[in-house]
């Protein structure tokens, strides 16, 4: 064994990674001053340069070479690097005439099912040869090149109270209470977890969870009309039961109106069955695996009728009072004769990811594997294929360029065999297609006597596979942190590839830990979310570039533009109101501007915009102007102690007398309120004499001075704009009592506060979290 010092590692590794075909990789006989240990050499060279790009497509647990001794784990799985190094080391130790198997096979010097994939003079061959030599003569370095200390050294995390505020807004759309802050002050990280676990019992979290999962499942596409009901199996279920309902109502128009109401409720219940199951499993603290294995379906009283559920089980009865049967109340029911398998057998999921006679459930299988088995089959198709040149009979079973995906995909497609293109349970008369790879989970074929319940059988195995908790961890990372998962660099020689690989490895390390905690908690999704909140992704706040690694600095934190829904919740939490002048009017963020501001409609627009463009920037500005106008006077109609925005001032508080003399008491109160607004709106703490408070005070003061002058010159009127007055109750639109109404702003104080609030609501920190 060679032992060397580990100086100048970065230069060496980068030098190797930068090798191109024009500059073939050379055996890295390191100068004594340099050292790369075997583990690092494998991770930085062998894996990205050779195995990932040349071998993994076939040599994986589902691939066509899965029966060989050379089976690797994909990079999505924890511990893949160590495991794959072990496998390759073993194979490398096998030799013929002094040459390692790992050199003989890919050059086809020995029979190789995949043909010749490497030339002897290629850079990849040189890398493998170097690895084989290292297996014979291992190299260890005096100082391990693997960082043993904190990988996020040099990265400062946000305080636990701030972490709590961000998480609370994100998950429940509200600000923390004083008690919750106290818990966090007392217990730090444990306190954050404790508070969040309680917070996640709230209905608001349940709604947020459904919103998050709709980004994945996109089943809200079927909301409205009878978009979902029309896809139910009419031969099995009385989907349109409401057509004959409300007979007790004599007036035809009223009766039809009531029937439309029932239709909407029933349709919503059927469309949201998958999302409601997710919410139910989490609310009940059941293992999250139940979203795939549940042998029941979630219904509301109206969709229950559409599925033929008895009144005794909670379905809405003929002549019932809709006020007594809440369409937002969901409960589980069993559907006779239909093998149910969580969200997978909901009509919404099956129709959102439909199939055809020739697609044969492959689209469903791809989506299933991607979301629940952390396996993106289409990534394998990034390799060029040439179906036009294939003369092979039944290429999806026999042509290697097709089987690379289909060997893995088609057995999963077979698991969906009983569900037709409309998502109806219709077992095929002659069984599954004989010319396809048989339905199976891995090498475990679905027994023929289980074919009628193939999907539940398959789901049971899925949730015990280690890829399932990994997939859910990945899913929740994207939903909670709001970033896409990194992938290893497709081209290890490309600029920046070394950094991308390092960041990918760091991400894998973090998510491995989170995943383990998720598993330990019996797959409680709340635990997974709370653990994600405590990662540097969520909490990273500042970086000391002298200390932090480039990979850690680049990963830390996740400031992101709020989605329309999140911004709406934040507005409500901070100001008390959405961006709408009255409850009965359009919510601007959730309706008029939803798609323009980067939202989705679950149909044609399914991916959120996360970077602001010119339109979105202006929407933010208009929101700030309108909301400041609508809420300022409203807030002043409340007693001082009840106000959300202006608890330290009255609208009579002017900074100066009419003669221009300062009123120190009023000025102090105004600044105190500005400081309060910084805390409430932007989560910032500032001293009264800070630059930030003074800057905001200047806006207030200069606007007030300007306005007073304009009032005196009668260039403006003392009445507020109609839109900015507080004359009616937001919720009921009833007139406010006369003593509470605010119509005038005779001293321009309200408009000065509006300016300050506009300033804050349009700030980066308000629009981002």
């Amino acid at each position: 064994m060679l032992t060397m010092r580990a100086a100048a590692l970065g230069v060496f590794v980068l030098g190797c990674i930068a090798c191109t075909e024009e500059q073939p990789a050379q055996e890295p006989v390191a100068p004594e001053a340099l050292c790369v240990d075997d583990q690092t050499f494998f991770a930085q060279n062998v894996w990205p340069q050779v195995l990932q790009s040349k071998c993994l497509g076939c040599h994986n647990a589902q691939g066509i070479a899965r029966e060989t001794e050379f089976v690797m784990m994909p990079s999505a799985q924890p511990g893949y690097m160590e495991t794959n190094q072990e496998v390759l080391s073993y194979l490398s130790s096998l030799e013929r005439d002094g040459t390692s198997f790992i050199l003989l096979k890919p050059t086809e010097a020995m029979p190789h099912g995949g043909g010749k994939v490497l030339a002897e003079d290629s850079a990849e061959y040189a890398t493998l040869a170097a690895f084989a030599e290292r297996v014979r003569n291992p190299i260890e370095c005096e100082t391990s090149t693997t960082a043993q200390d904190d990988p996020f050294k040099g990265v400062s995390m946000m305080s636990f109270p701030r972490t709590l505020r961000r998480a609370s807004l994100n998950l429940a759309g509200r600000l923390p209470t004083a008690d919750e802050y106290a818990t966090v002050d007392r217990l730090s990280a444990t306190g954050v977890e404790l508070v969040l676990m309680n917070l996640m019992k709230e209905q608001a979290f349940s709604e947020r969870l459904k919103e998050m999962f709709n980004d994945i499942l996109l089943t809200d596409r079927f909301l409205g009309g009878n978009n979902m009901l029309e896809r139910l199996d009419g031969n099995r279920y009385p989907a349109y039961w409401y057509e004959g309902s409300a007979l007790e109502i004599a007036d035809e128009d009223e009766r039809q109106s009531m029937r439309r109401r029932y239709r909407n409720y029933a349709n919503e219940g059927a469309a949201r069955a998958a999302l409601e199951l997710v919410a139910f499993v989490v609310a009940e603290d059941r293992p999250f695996s139940e979203i795939l294995t549940a042998d029941y379906m979630m219904v509301n009283p109206y969709s229950a009728r559409s599925y033929g559920v008895d009144v005794g089980q909670g379905a809405f009865p003929d002549g019932g009072d809709h006020n007594e049967y809440d369409h937002k109340s969901y409960f589980p029911v069993s559907l006779p004769e239909v093998p149910t398998s969580g969200i997978l057998t909901t009509s919404a999921w099956l129709n959102r990811f439909p199939t055809t006679e020739t697609n044969r459930n492959r689209h469903r299988a791809w989506m299933f594997m991607r979301k629940f088995l952390a396996t993106d089959i289409l990534r394998l198709a990034d390799r060029p294929v040439d179906p036009t040149g294939s003369q092979i009979f039944n290429p999806t079973m026999n042509d290697p360029q097709c089987t690379v995906c289909h060997t893995t995909l088609d057995p999963v497609a077979g698991a969906f065999q009983n569900w037709d293109h409309n998502g109806r349970y219709r077992p095929r008369e002659n069984g599954w297609y004989g010319e396809m790879v048989p339905p199976a989970f891995e090498d475990d074929a679905i027994p023929s006597n289980q074919w009628g319940a193939a999907l539940p059988w398959f789901a049971e195995r899925t949730v015990t596979d280690p890829r399932f908790p990994l997939a859910i961890t990945h899913l929740m990372f994207e939903l909670v942190i709001g970033e896409e998962l990194l992938i290893p660099p497709p081209d290890p020689t490309a600029p920046g590839a070394a950094l991308q690989q390092a960041q990918f490895d760091l991400q894998t390390q973090i998510l491995d830990e989170v995943q383990q905690q998720f598993i330990t908690s019996n797959m409680n999704l709340k635990t997974l979310i709370a653990k994600l909140i405590l990662t540097p992704y969520f909490r990273g706040e500042a970086v000391d570039s002298e200390v932090a690694s480039e990979a850690a600095a680049g990963l830390a934190g996740s400031p992101k533009l709020l989605s329309p829904e999140s911004l709406d919740r934040k507005l409500k939490a901070v100001t008390g109101f959405s961006w709408q002048p009255r409850l009965a009017s359009n919510n601007q963020l959730l309706q008029d501007y939803k798609l323009l501001y980067g939202g989705i409609d679950s149909d044609g627009v399914t991916k959120r915009l996360t970077k602001p463009n010119g339109l979105m920037a202006n929407i933010g500005l208009r929101m700030a102007n309108e909301v400041a106008c609508w809420v300022t006077a409203k807030d002043f109609t409340l007693d001082q102690g009840q106000r959300r925005l202006y608890p330290h001032v009255e609208r009579t508080f002017e900074p100066e007398t009419a003669d221009g003399f300062a009123i120190p008491g009023a000025q102090l109160k105004i600044k105190e309120n500005i400081r309060y607004l910084f805390r409430r709106v932007l989560d910032e703490e500032h001293r009264l004499d800070s630059v930030e408070v003074e800057r905001a005070y200047s806006i207030f003061y200069d606007t007030w001075r300007e306005g007073k002058g304009m009032l005196e010159r009668q260039e403006v009127i003392p009445q507020l704009h109609y839109y900015c007055r507080a004359e009616r109750d937001y919720f009921t639109w009833d007139a406010l009592p006369a003593e509470r109404r605010i119509t005038y702003d005779r001293n321009y104080i309200l408009r000065s506060w509006m300016a300050v609030l506009t300033y804050m609501l349009s700030d980066y920190r308000f629009l981002h979290e």
């Binding site: 697609n359 915009l609 920037a617 349009s762």
Partner: protein, 424 residues
Amino acid sequence: MDRRDFMKLASLAGVSLASPLGLGRAFAADPMLANTPYDGLFFVTIHAGGGWDPTSLCDPKGRENENSADPMNMYFTGDIRTAGNIQYAPVDRFTPIFEKYYQRLVVFNGIDTSTNGHMSGTRHIWSGNLAEGTPSLSALFAGAVAAGRPLTFISNGGYDYTADVVPRTRISNVGALARIAFPNRVDPNNASLTFHSQATMDRIQAARKARRDEAVAHATLPKEKKARSTLFLARQGENELRQLTAFLPEDFDNSNNPLKRQAQLAVASYKAGLTASASLTHGGFDTHGNHDATHIPRLANVLEGLDFLVEEAERQGVADKLVVLVGSDFGRTPGYNMNNGKDHWSITSLMMMAPGIVGNRVIGSSNERHVGHSIDAQTLARNDDGIRLTPGSIHHALRTYLGIADHPVVTPFHISEPNLPFFG
């Protein structure tokens, strides 16, 4: 804002503002021209989502007679039509379009996308790279020539990955544009009724700038720096969006062809100097069943959408800047499946019109079962010992034509295929 500030913030946002090559009036070497209306080339893509069938369009393959086994299409070979040197499938709705534009049209046939996956095919066609990571050409072009414009890249779907070189813009609610363009007006049509006086707005903006400058100077988290800078750049167009309202048509198209409405918006935004590229999309081409009845009318929609786009550009006086590329994920299998549908096939076509490009040309070809022929790298004629016609080589040439091949925004996204003389 001074030049140095702008450069710094743009750089933090991942935006490069250096001058592209060969675009005389395009935006521009001077970063302050971020506030100058863009009037360079206008790059538009039309994406037929789901995988179109070139053999039913511009690479026609008919059947010899009614007894032909496993026909490619139901029309007869003898009925195939021509406009100049361009052949097309015998569909009446196609004829006026091909007749009108063949002299400006370049058709690429027999393109090998090397995939039959939707995501990878769409990525390959619009980025030139089968592997993940390369932005769409629309995003690269906008990033190279007009990164600072507020709506520089308008996307209606398809492959619109940007790698953060520019933000995407979706415009779904035209009715809201006026209110967005005038954020301080209570009523966008009434300039005198505002939420704040102009002096107050200026005051707020100045305070916001001072606060942002300090925050950017003190921010150490790379992601935060980037997010702050991105918002800053997006706000550069705060007062320019109103220009868009001046060029929007009185009435938007309300037909069932979504391309027309998308085209109206894109052209108006370009005319206003806000946009450099746009992707228009029409879905519904993944016809695994009942192919002819559903697919061919949509192909006609694409051609009519193309025609509408050109006419709209002419109406707005910008047609001489329009570069338009029409394509899809991949092609469809030869012949019909058991449901009278067609499945995925890796060979496809592209159509293009652009100023300075010689039209009435067909580059590349395929055999009677729609297998692509190789071409000679010099003459571009069929050469069975030549090279495959790939999206990468077309993109390589397009980058050169657009004058962005050596732009620092573009060069990190290398294309390995050769740069062929498609455009002279």
